[in-house]
Subunit: 100 residues, 2 copies
DNA sequence: CGTGTAAGGAATTCTGACACG
DNA sequence: CGTGTAAGGAATTCTGACACG
């Protein structure tokens, strides 16, 4: 769950190299609530590989002309999908355990 | 293979927080060839999660008083072990595919 | 709305070296 | 051998703002 993929350890300069997005863009997408980096005590942003993937998706959408507001909704619903899936899986597991 | 675990994206300050080792120690273990961070164009070191794990192992060994030279040998042989295992696995797979 | 840029300050990282032991 | 530290420079990151559109 709190695996390498979700650990916030990458600084914004590296995210820039990984995604090709400008620092300005990366910060702006945070302002628009598309991503949620963590902050070190001193205030520098730290991103996860998961954030990098999301940014790559955002870049694609933006190229298609989709606005950040729409992209946010998409990201949220796809996340909701994952949560639902996880919950269902949990239910199924419980079910089959009972019938064993 | 070139997964999140091995991607070199973590700066030394973050490695310090993750491992508790001082910057001096982290750099020194590189000098002694226990770890191999990459360098950005400008020269700052970048580490992978794998490097962080190795550093944690190094810290344990050092507490036991093991010298860096010994630790390096241990790390190399454990790596050799992994490579051998992988090669064997490949051979086994090939074997069973043939008998199918 | 989304992104570029110049501005000034604060923290980061780098290297080579001296120190202790 | 392994690690601390002070030293000076170079690059990073941050925020708030003006600009364009």
């Amino acid at each position: 769950m709190s695996s390498y993929k979700h650990k916030k350890v990458i600084s914004i300069g590296t995210v820039n190299e990984l995604t090709g997005l400008s620092l300005r863009q990366i910060r702006y997408y945070e302002e628009r609530q598309l991503i949620y980096p963590e902050r070190t005590k001193r205030g520098t942003r730290k991103y996860s590989f998961s954030d990098v993937e999301t940014l790559l998706q955002i870049a694609d959408k933006r190229e298609e002309g989709v606005q950040t507001y729409e992209i946010r909704k998409d990201l949220q619903s796809s996340n909701k999908g994952k949560v639902m899936e996880r919950m269902l899986r949990g239910q199924l597991n419980a079910h089959f355990r009972m019938n064993k």
